[in-house]
């Protein structure tokens, strides 16, 4: 049972790492938002699930944290993307696409 929890935590941190790696590698702010939000959302949910396996009595608060992350993380990223768009940042290679289309 404990090994399942540990594996879930490891999987979660791996996704957190992939999110940060996406943040590191992606060429423009929108792609960074995509990588940074999505991978870290599932990563933290997986970590929470793994902890819930270790400490089953903590499930109410863990569920609350999970719900909170699930609801707020896309809102934060959308707000940020809109702010970036309105400050005039255009997506990477957008001009090229327009030229070909």
């Amino acid at each position: 049972m404990q090994i399942i929890g540990a594996s879930l935590i490891l999987l979660g941190t791996s996704f957190l790492f992939l999110g940060a790696l996406g943040l590191f590698r992606m060429p423009d702010v929108y792609n960074r938002i995509q990588a940074g939000t999505k991978a870290t959302t599932l990563g933290s949910l997986s970590v929470l699930l793994g902890i819930a396996v270790y400490y089953p009595l903590w499930w109410p608060k863990l569920l609350l944290i999970a719900l909170f992350i699930l609801l707020t993380s896309p809102i934060a990223s959308s707000t940020l993307a809109r702010a970036a768009y309105k400050t005039g940042l255009r997506p990477y290679r957008a001009a090229l696409d327009k030229g070909e289309g």
Binding site: Q2, I3, T13, L16, K61, I69
Partner: protein, 99 residues
């Protein structure tokens, strides 16, 4: 075995933090830094929950919850601040017309 997995998870989490911090300082634009801060906040929330399990003390869960809430509010507020305000722009342009 599972102790090894937990320690490995910790190391990977540290690497993730390092990458996000690098992006926070490298920028190049303000939204980039805010994205990095947002990612850092989610990683930190997960780390606080991990700490709760490590110390066997559920008080860290409350800290994680409050931290997540504050980080979300901070990101939204900063995003609204760097976004050019439509109303303000209108006010400025109408003032220019009046001049």
């Amino acid at each position: 075995m599972e102790n090894f997995l937990i320690v490995l998870a910790f190391v990977i989490g540290l690497a993730a933090l390092a990458l996000a911090i690098w992006r926070f300082f490298a920028g190049p634009t303000t939204p980039d830094r805010v994205v990095a801060a947002d990612t850092l906040a989610i990683i930190t929330t997960a780390a606080l929950v991990w700490l709760a399990a490590f110390f066997g003390n559920s008080i860290y869960l409350d800290i994680a919850l409050v931290y997540a809430a504050l980080a979300f509010v901070a990101v939204v507020v900063i995003a609204r601040m760097i976004e050019p305000d439509a109303k303000q722009a209108d006010a400025v342009s109408s003032q220019k017309e009046a001049d």
